[in-house]
Every structure is written in structure tokens, then in C-alpha cells.
Symmetry: C2
Subunit: 401 residues, 2 copies
């Protein structure tokens, strides 16, 4: 078997953990497998480098930032190869140049284009464990790039695909994917299996342990993932394509408190108004989530939407700047103490009544719904933040998760 | 003009110094020059990385050590480019892959073979300051290598040669090359000019601010160097080929306390004895310096030589292991409290009597000579360590330096 194993920064934060990871990889190696390991930078190393850069030049170019940040993973992989070597197993570390890991030239947010596999195969054939820098690539100018948030997961998935790996294991500090955040819903249960689409919904709801891009890539190339803990040997959660088996109605409940609701009231009811509003926000890189357009009342209409807390101020400024001239709205209201509760499940596509069941659960515990949004496999409600734990626990219970 | 400027680790040890270096480079840039900057790792960064490696695996492979260490210079060059950019001057950092800087595959002690210049010329033509990692290269396997001690100086000289630079400036924490170590001889004077050969002798005597390999390369390719301080604007010392001018008899006095004298006594007086002795030492990587073979006495002879303090124990062990079987010597004596004092000068090739004048200076102050060694442009004596300051000062005085 060819196994790709990815470990995040906390898993290699110090000597003890580096050896812990080394031993886990060596177990697979000694069982006769070919082992490729993908690592992030150690612990808070990336933050340390970011602070150094900020101190020198708060507006440093992304090209130079990537040149700086890529030293982080190179440090981890070299130390890991040394650790494995000291445990008697030959290992070799490779960076984005050595692999080579080709990406677009979008510094700090590059997309992987192609991975050369020759060097990796050669090293594996020499019975070495191959330790590869996650998160980084090189572009057509021979410059370093980085892949943005969750980049090391993406590297692991891309490598698993390029190498036709038999397994791709993503190690993290939790046991796997849960039916809800255990801190919010104490009865939350670990899922054995989840589909790519469910994982994508959960990831975008902030509940996921995997970043969206890596799940999208895994889905696109059919790479089956296992999410498991680097701290114990529990089974973890398998992420794979639709399983033909009887689908669970709902596989998880997600909560997200990083939400602000903005209502723009008294807009003219004519074509192009919503376009103008969201065009202004897009121009300022504000990501808009749940959108609700009211029915007309007296020739006027209201539009409500949610943004993250980070984007709230810039969204407000933008709207207020255009309120009179372009938007011609009456008032703008902001509600900061709101939260999202979502149920996600591939099964709901064929089972009507999931939304109703969820609303019933909320009614049971007296929680008012401010806004609703749905996808094929998800129902999300916006509620007052103070009810989020009650709501999540009741919904979890209702679906017998 | 195309100027190559090299700054060592202390010159880029913190934010303030990084900006200091950036400003110096920008002065040359704004005067219309093309500027290539070569940097070492920041301050003690290389030592920090060495300690990390040692903690993980004291016998880490050199290949992985180089993978780890090369992150040091990459960090410096990225931060330097950011600093220049924040001062309004476009800069780009390049590492050994990006340049590309081809070396032999001797990890931790590689030799530069060839430097690609295309990328550098392109960046210079775009009016950027090009900031390049010193000390590192890549080999034919696409692995990182490092150039060993003084490696960044070598990188600078090699770049100056490959780019046909008009000047190669080596910045350090002293003003230039002195007639003696100012801590030993307070009257020591800075030299305006010194030849490559003199610099080589001084460097190998431990008195030099430049490493031998970089001077050898400068001599080989006719690269004129300037050694100057990064902390002030003093003129520095020019290192170049024989100057046609009247040569100074002696250009400097060097002292070295890192010396141990070993005497192997009662060796058979027959061919091959010296060969065997030094072969044993070479097999254990012991560098032997001043060698003295006594005249025969009763069919026996003695051989004395010096080694560094670091090599002394392994040298002794080696000799004692072979004392009876192979060397058939009577006794081995060790004297640790010895030191070397040398005079160096291209002029002494044509002026006899330099050695005599030096011995006279030592006689004047009552210092006994234990051993003598000479080259075409150098006379070295081995004396008791306690007399080294007196001896150096008297010799310095005698030659009116």
C-alpha cells in the first residue's frame, strides 16, 4: 500500500511530538507500506514568521511573504527526516522545488496545477519514507507560492491523487468528524463515514476539521480521506463518495457564532437593487452568506443577509456610503448577537420533512427563527446567539444522532 | 556599475541592522548602480538550527542538515527584500534554487561549480535590488548543499565573477584587514591594500576576516575585493593581485593560540616513517600544521608537529594506538601552552633577512623559539603561549608596521 499521511502544526510542535509522528509513520513503513508524509510548519512557527514580516514591513509583498513562510515547512520536514533516521528508518525530506509542486502564481493563495512524481517514486523505491512540505508550491517563475488556509490538507490530497495512493490520512487534534461540536452538544457522536458533500457543507459552516478546498479536491479526484487524531489510535472518520448504503437522514448539526445580521430596509422594489447592493459589497471583498428578501410592502422591500464578524464593519461602511446616492434605502439595522444552527445530511435529498422536523425541535424549546436558508443537503436557521446550545442539543436529540 | 555586497549574520541580526544594510544598498542603487546583495542567516540563527537538529538527532545526515540550515538565509533575504520595499525600492529575494547556484554534492562542504545568471540579470534590468542567499547551493540531485565555513563570502566572490561585477564588497564587523590583531597589538594599523597571497596566509593563520576559500576563488577569477565595516563608512582594505608598486616588506603580524605541539620521539630513521605517522593522522581527519623532523641521533629521530586544540586528543589517541605496532616510537610528548606568531608579506620574497629580523625582535624581548616554519611570504615561529602578546608587539614594532 502507498499511504499519504498529513500532520498539522500542533502534531509537530516539539521534539516529543515529532518523534510521536515519526513512530506512527514507521509502524506503517515496517508493515511493508510505502509512506509519504506531508507536514505543516511547527506549532506557531508561521505566526512567528508573520510577526517578523509585519515588524519589518506591514505591507510586505505576497511574493516575499511566501518566500519567508515556506521556510517553516522546510524546517519541519528536515527535522522529521532526522527523527526517523535516528529511529533507524531511512527518510528524505523534500520541498516544493524538489518534488516539484507546480501552482498558479497567486502568491499566498495559489492553486495546485501539477505534481511531479518521479523523485517521490524513486525515493519510495529506495525504501525511504518521503517527508514533503505541505502548504507550498512553485510557480512558472520559479518563485515560492503558498496555498492559503488549509493548504497542507490540499497538498496531501493532491499528492494522494497524483501518486494513486491507497489511503490518505489527515491527522488532527480531534478524533474525527462529529455529529455536532462536542463543546456545544455533549452527546455529539463521532461519524464513521461522511460523504464529500456533507463534509463540504460542514466545513463551510465552520464545524469541519477539514478545509473546503481539500475536500473539493478529494471529491474531484475521488481520493478517499480518513480524518483521525495524531494523539490516539481511534478509528477516525472516512470521507468518501456517496455510499450506496441507506443514507442517514442527517449526519450532523453545526453551529456558528461568528455571524452578524444586517438588514437594509426600505429599498425600492425594482430590478437591479439587489445586484447593486451585493456588487458594492463584493467590491470590498465582503463575503455574504444567508440572504433574505422580503415581500413588497408599499412599493418598498427589505433585504437581510449575514456576514462574519470580521466583515461586518466594512459591510456597514460600504452600505452607508452608498445609502443615499445609489441604494436609496431608508434604514440599516445590525444585529450582532445571532448564530447559525444547521443540519447537514445527504439523506435529506430524498426525505422531505427534515426542515419541518428541525423547526419542530426549535419550537419545542421555544427558540425563535430569524431567517432560514437551505441547500440540497442542508437546512440552516439564524437564531439569537444565547439559544445556540439549547437549539443545537434539541435538534441533535430530535434526529437521534 | 554592478556591485556585489555581502553582509554577514551579525549585520542582519535584528530589524534595526536589517534596515541599516537596506539603506546602504539603496544608496548605491539610487546612485544608478545595479546592486546584488548576498546575506548570511540572521545572527545566531544557524546555531539555533544546529541545536534543534542536535536535539532531534546528534548524528543527523549532512543532507538533512543542509535542508534545515538553508532556511536560515532564506529568512534573511525575504526580510531584507521586505525592508527595501518598505523604503520604496523594489527588491527581490532569490535562494539557491531560484538563482540557480550549482555545487558538488558534498553536503555541508560543497564546492560551487556554476552559477546561472539569467534570472539575476532579468531582475537587475527591471531595476530591482537582487538579494541572494549566501552559503547555499543545489547539487545535481536537486538537493540543497551548504558551502562550509565562510561560505557566504565564497558565494559573493563567485557571483561577482559570474556577473562580471565591477566591485565585490565584503562587509564585516571590523574596518578591514589590520597589520595585527588590535586586541593583541594595540598599535596595529589598518591596511589599505593587501595581495591575495598575503590575505591567504593571514586567513590560514586565523587572523583574517575573510575565509581562505573565498580569497582563493577571488585570486583564481581576478575578483578585486573590498573588506569593510557594515557599522561605519571607513574605507576598508582592498584585496587584489600583486600591485606592481613597491611592496611592503611585511604587511602583517598574526597570532594564533589555538595550537598544541606534539612530539613523537625515538622513531626509527628509515624511509616511510613520516609517511606512516601522517597517514594515520590523515585517516582520522587530523589537520597537521608546522612539522619539524630532527636530525638523527643514535639511529633514531624525533618528529614534532602542531595541531589545533580540537584535534589534539584524537591525534594523541591515534599515535598511541599505533605506537608499538606500526610506529615503533619511544615516547609521545604534548605541549598545550604554545602559540604561533607569524609575519606575512609579499615583499619578503625579494628581501632576504626577514626571518633574521623577526628572530632578533624575539631575542630582544627574551622569547625562546620552539619551532620555525616558513613559506615564500610568511615566517612563523612557535613560542610559549604566555609570551604571545610581548612577541607580537615587538615584532610589529621591529617591522615599523
Amino acid at each position: 500500500m502507498l499511504i499519504v499521511k498529513k500532520f498539522g502544526g500542533t502534531s509537530v510542535a516539539n521534539k516529543e511530538r515529532i518523534f510521536n509522528v515519526a513512530r506512527r509513520c514507521i509502524e506503517d513503513y515496517k508493515a511493508g507500506n510505502q509512506v509519504v508524509v506531508v507536514l505543516s510548519a511547527m506549532g506557531k512557527q508561521t505566526d512567528v514568521l508573520l510577526d517578523m514580516a509585519k515588524d519589518i514591513n506591514p505591507k510586505a509583498s505576497r511574493r516575499e511573504m511566501d518566500m519567508l513562510l515556506t521556510t517553516g515547512e522546510q524546517t519541519s520536514v528536515a527535522l522529521m527526516a532526522m527523527a526517523m533516521d535516528s529511529l533507524g528508518v531511512p527518510a528524505v525530506s523534500l520541498n516544493a522545488f524538489q518534488v516539484a509542486m507546480h501552482t498558479t502564481a497567486d502568491y499566498s493563495n495559489a492553486k495546485l496545477k501539477r505534481i511531479d512524481t518521479e523523485r517521490i517514486y524513486n525515493e519510495l523505491e529506495n525504501r525511504k519514507i518521503v517527508v514533503i512540505t505541505g502548504f507550498q508550491g512553485i510557480d512558472k517563475y520559479d518563485d515560492y507560492t503558498t496555498l492559503g488556509r488549509g493548504g497542507s490538507d490540499t497538498t496531501a490530497v493532491a499528492l494522494a491523487s497524483a501518486l494513486h495512493a491507497d489511503a490518505c490520512e489527515i491527522y488532527t487534534d480531534v478524533d474525527g468528524v462529529y455529529t455536532a461540536d462536542p463543546r456545544v452538544v455533549p452527546k455529539a457522536r463521532k461519524l464513521e463515514v461522511i460523504t464529500y458533500d456533507e463534509m463540504l457543507e460542514l466545513a463551510s459552516l465552520g464545524a469541519g476539521v477539514l478545509h473546503n478546498r481539500s475536500v473539493e479536491m478529494a471529491k474531484k479526484y475521488g481520493v478517499q480521506l480518513v480524518v483521525r487524531s495524531s494523539l490516539n489510535k481511534n478509528e477516525g472518520t472516512i470521507v468518501k463518495e456517496d455510499t450506496k448504503m441507506e443514507k442517514m437522514l442527517v449526519s450532523g448539526v453545526a453551529t456558528d457564532k461568528n455571524v452578524v445580521q444586517i438588514s437594509v430596509e426600505g429599498l425600492e422594489n425594482k430590478p437591479g437593487v439587489a445586484f447593486k447592493l451585493f456588487q458594492h459589497l463584493a467590491n470590498h471583498n465582503v463575503n455574504v452568506d444567508m440572504i433574505l428578501q422580503s415581500v413588497e410592502h408599499g412599493g418598498k422591500q427589505d433585504i437581510s443577509f449575514t456576514v462574519t464578524e470580521e466583515d461586518a464593519d466594512i459591510a456597514l461602511e460600504t452600505i452607508e456610503r452608498h445609502a443615499e446616492s445609489s441604494l436609496k434605502c431608508d434604514t440599516v439595522n445590525v444585529t450582532r448577537d445571532v448564530a447559525k444552527v444547521s443540519v447537514v445530511g445527504a439523506g435529506m435529498m430524498t426525505h422531505p420533512g427534515v426542515a419541518a422536523k428541525m423547526f419542530e425541535a426549535l419550537y419545542d424549546c421555544g427558540v425563535n427563527i430569524r431567517q432560514i436558508s437551505t441547500s440540497e443537503i442542508r437546512v440552516t436557521v439564524l437564531i439569537d446567539e444565547k439559544y445556540v446550545e439549547t437549539a443545537a442539543q434539541n435538534v441533535h436529540e430530535k434526529f437521534s444522532l
